[in-house]
């Protein structure tokens, strides 16, 4: 009987811990006091890609055959064939979006939202496609604001072109750390977050070819709308977190 009581106690405690951890809102603000000090923010969009691309479904013959040089070569050649096919198929979408700059749209939305936050002012926006440390350091060194907000988005299609994915990270670094700045050191940032959005065309398309048409028709209307919506959501999320 006693052991049953102990067991009930353990189960109750486990449930309590589980529910408490699930209900608590995860805070992405790493340093609340430092964040309160930030009054001016420079925004930097770190965008590695210049045009949309599609994911490749990786061949995994090597995995099933437990390794070996020949399966690895077969995998590499299948992957290359898929990559070539994907690059050729995506051209109509790229042509439809040739005048659309996702980085600029995202920056515009974020800056507008940031300026709605009473305590923060954001005047300067920069763009870089250098995702290495040196790229971040250059933008950081040139900033005159109290902090630099790095937003690094990726946007791409699923291998069947039916789903548009927008993912990325957000990091706010105070410029007070000067030359000690390291973009990979999360302990240095006062706010860190990530985002992941999906827009599916699965209800409207049946094949890869029709998906290309869906995303590229009317100068890429659906794609532009989806990217704009994602930009607006990302901007709202950042503003909400920084306004705490």
């Amino acid at each position: 009987m006693d052991s049953l009581k102990v067991l009930y106690g353990i189960v109750f405690f486990a449930c309590l811990v589980f529910f408490c951890s699930c209900s608590s809102k995860k805070s992405y603000v790493m340093n609340a006091s430092a964040l309160k000090e930030v009054k001016t923010v420079d925004l930097c969009i770190v965008l590695a890609q210049q045009e949309i691309f599609a994911e490749i479904k990786q061949s995994n013959i090597t995995q099933y055959t437990l390794g070996g040089a020949i399966p690895a070569i077969i995998d590499a050649s299948i992957d290359h064939h898929r990559a070539k096919d994907s690059e050729n198929s995506i051209q109509p979408i790229r042509n439809a979006l040739v005048d659309y700059d996702f980085g600029k749209h995202l920056a515009g939305k974020i800056q507008a939202e940031l300026n709605l936050v009473n305590t923060i002012k954001s005047d300067k926006v920069t763009f870089t496609n250098n995702i290495k440390k040196e790229g971040y350091k250059k933008e950081f060194a040139e900033s005159c604001a109290q902090a630099v907000l790095f937003v690094s988005p990726n946007y791409y299609l699923s291998p069947d072109f039916k789903i548009l994915k927008i993912t990325g990270g957000i990091k706010l670094f105070p410029t007070s750390m000067g030359s000690a700045f390291d973009p990979t050191d999360d302990n240095q940032c006062v706010y860190k977050d990530s985002f992941s959005y999906q827009e599916s065309a699965e209800n409207s398309v049946s094949s890869k070819e029709s998906a290309v048409g869906y995303w590229s028709d009317n100068s890429g209307e659906h794609m532009r709308q989806a990217l704009d919506q994602a930009s607006a959501d990302i901007a709202k999320k950042i503003a909400l977190n920084l306004n705490q």
């Binding site: 210049q50 590499a76 690059e87 051209q91 040739v98 870089t128 496609n129």
Partner: protein, 207 residues
Amino acid sequence: MGKNPDALIINNSSKHPNIRASWSALLLILFAFLVVGCSRAPIYLQFDQTKQSRSHDPSPPSQKTCAVIIQAVEDKRELKDILGIVGWRTVYADNFPEWVIHQIKMLDSFGYAVNVQSTDNNPGVNCLNLSVVIRTAYIRTFSASIAATVVAEVSYSRDMQLLGKKMYRGNKTKVNWNSSENEVNGIFSEVFAQILKSISNDLAQYC
């Protein structure tokens, strides 16, 4: 019988010095290949004349009637810091408009006399003027492949009259062997060769 096995190996290899030399050479090549493949040194886009002419594969040059003047090459790319990252290597093209001019000059291999407009050479009456706007240029690697893209908008005019405007896209996907400078330069030359071929086809209607 009581023979030292090591001595046997030494004796064998001394009997076949060519085999030993071949193995050494093979290992050296493999090592060099790995070193190049793991390099983190930046890559710069080069003006390699021989490589470009090889990749163009032009029709036999026969002099066309009109001369082509490159009026301007404007770089309207939003992100100009780098062309991309290949393996661990950053690809720089600080001189990208000059590289494009250099490539367009290769139209002479299609039979067109190409010059760059300067204060010294005013365009003649029959000259066809080309204004180029670079929209996009980048390189990326994924899986075992390397892909490069260049998008350029070309305006054709004569005697201040706009004859036409067209967007050209060059794209090439190849196997990424070792992320070398030659590979990067080679793929960009091939990409621009596609654009040049399309331009040369369109030039026929204006000349």
